[in-house]
Symmetry: C2
């Protein structure tokens, strides 16, 4: 049994290691901007996760399990992607502070030759404390905002400003472990 993670995210790789399975990494080259957001974050992240997994499907990988994943931050009905620059990150933190938002992760597990195609999406609510502009500036100075949807990682120093969450913590990190564990059990990938 060969298992492939279709993601270059170091955090996802570290989380998947906790499940104790051997896997290799093939980074999906799928262009996320080709999927328009139509207002339903759950189907959006499931679609992106599936497209990422399918992107590395070929004659060599059709007998392997391939896992795709995607995570977005959703505040006031708007999807926050990765900030383009520091100003963009500042404005994202302004919209998150003193507010609750939702994080959605999509999972897609495919096995072409066995005809397996399973997707799931998981939501976690995150409540941020009020932050002054000075606190946001101090936070941005740590340069953790780069390459992160919504300009923060819950496991980093933004964690100080999180009053609480409702749902799976690992979902906010990018890979909902409990749901993934159940899917892998169901397909007897882990015993």
């Amino acid at each position: 049994m060969e298992f492939i993670l279709a993601s270059g995210s170091i955090r996802r790789q570290e989380l998947l290691e906790r499940l104790g399975i051997d896997f290799q990494i093939l980074v999906s080259q799928f262009d996320e901007s080709s999927v328009p957001y139509k207002g339903d974050p759950e189907s959006y992240v499931e679609t992106l996760a599936l497209k990422k997994a399918e992107n590395i499907l070929n004659d060599k990988t059709r007998n392997s399990f391939i896992l795709g994943a995607d995570t977005v931050v959703c505040v006031k009905g708007k999807i926050l992607g990765k900030p383009e620059n520091r100003e963009d990150a500042f404005s994202m933190m302004k919209s998150l502070q003193d507010n609750a938002h939702e994080v959605y992760s999509g999972l897609a597990l495919i096995h072409e030759s066995d005809g397996i195609c399973e997707t799931a999406s998981i939501r976690t609510s995150v409540q941020f404390s009020p932050m002054t502009d000075e606190e946001i500036t101090q936070y941005l100075d740590k340069n953790e905002w780069q390459d992160k949807a919504g300009a923060y990682g819950i496991q980093g120093s933004a964690g100080l400003f999180i009053e609480g969450i409702e749902g799976d913590y690992y979902n906010v990190m990018g890979l909902p472990l409990n749901t993934l564990y159940k899917i892998l059990k169901k397909h007897q990938i882990i015993m």
Copy 2:
């Protein structure tokens, strides 16, 4: 300004480092079994946190900030401490699986010469998935249950079985960072 953490917990030390303050560690020798549990987990953890901080108070430390902390797991009105042996850990996991429980952490910050004595307690609910006896046995084989209240650490492999939480994740790890950050700001220990 000198800051002392009155806890030998590696996890608490790592979490406190995230606040970016310099601190030293003096491990409290307070005997927790001397405080009887009277059915109120919040006042129980606050009392234990305070007793731990006071335990290292002396002529040398009376001009320092001292932080004490305590964390308990509470299921069906019963406090779960650290398991005495593997059988005890098995029975704790049996009571946690397919069930919600509460984790309470108490904080106490004292500064004797300035007359500062502030305590707080924070609650987080944790929902475990159903676990078969075989899954509990596989989990116990990893030996992560030792020296942990309730026989698990949320950051370890028990995390696979946690469907979700309500509240501060770091509270479950042993140090509620958001609440602590606010207390340290209030006393201008961090700016």
